[in-house]
Symmetry: C2
Subunit: 68 residues, 2 copies
């Protein structure tokens, strides 16, 4: 799962901590998601989409590979 959080942050000049605050999660969570350590929950993805006024698919992209 790739994501554009870093770019979206940069466009707004927000730090990881800034974004974490706005999404009500810890800074480490943002860092881990940006670094691909794990995927956000669906509710968190919705929060991000609302925050950036974008669709979930415009922020997070599925790495369409795993053939189950």
């Amino acid at each position: 799962m790739k994501n554009r959080l870093k770019v979206l942050r940069a466009e707004r000049d927000w730090t990881q901590a800034d974004l974490a605050d706005r999404l009500s999660v810890s800074r480490q969570t943002i860092n881990a998601i940006e670094k691909g350590k794990f995927d956000p929950s669906l509710p968190l993805a919705f929060k991000a989409a609302r925050l950036f006024n974008l669709r979930i698919e415009d922020i997070f992209q599925d790495d369409v590979d795993e053939p189950s």
Copy 2:
């Protein structure tokens, strides 16, 4: 988090087990999600969106309430 899985299934005449198979999860997982027991993971939401050829937001709707 509400969702339209039951309706989307009905339109295709699929059982919970059918959908579970197509999403490579257990039948109980589909049941639990439909009944609102828990939210799907983001990867699972993406899989469902691909399967139904819809956007995640067209399948799952955030219950926008919790003021953090």
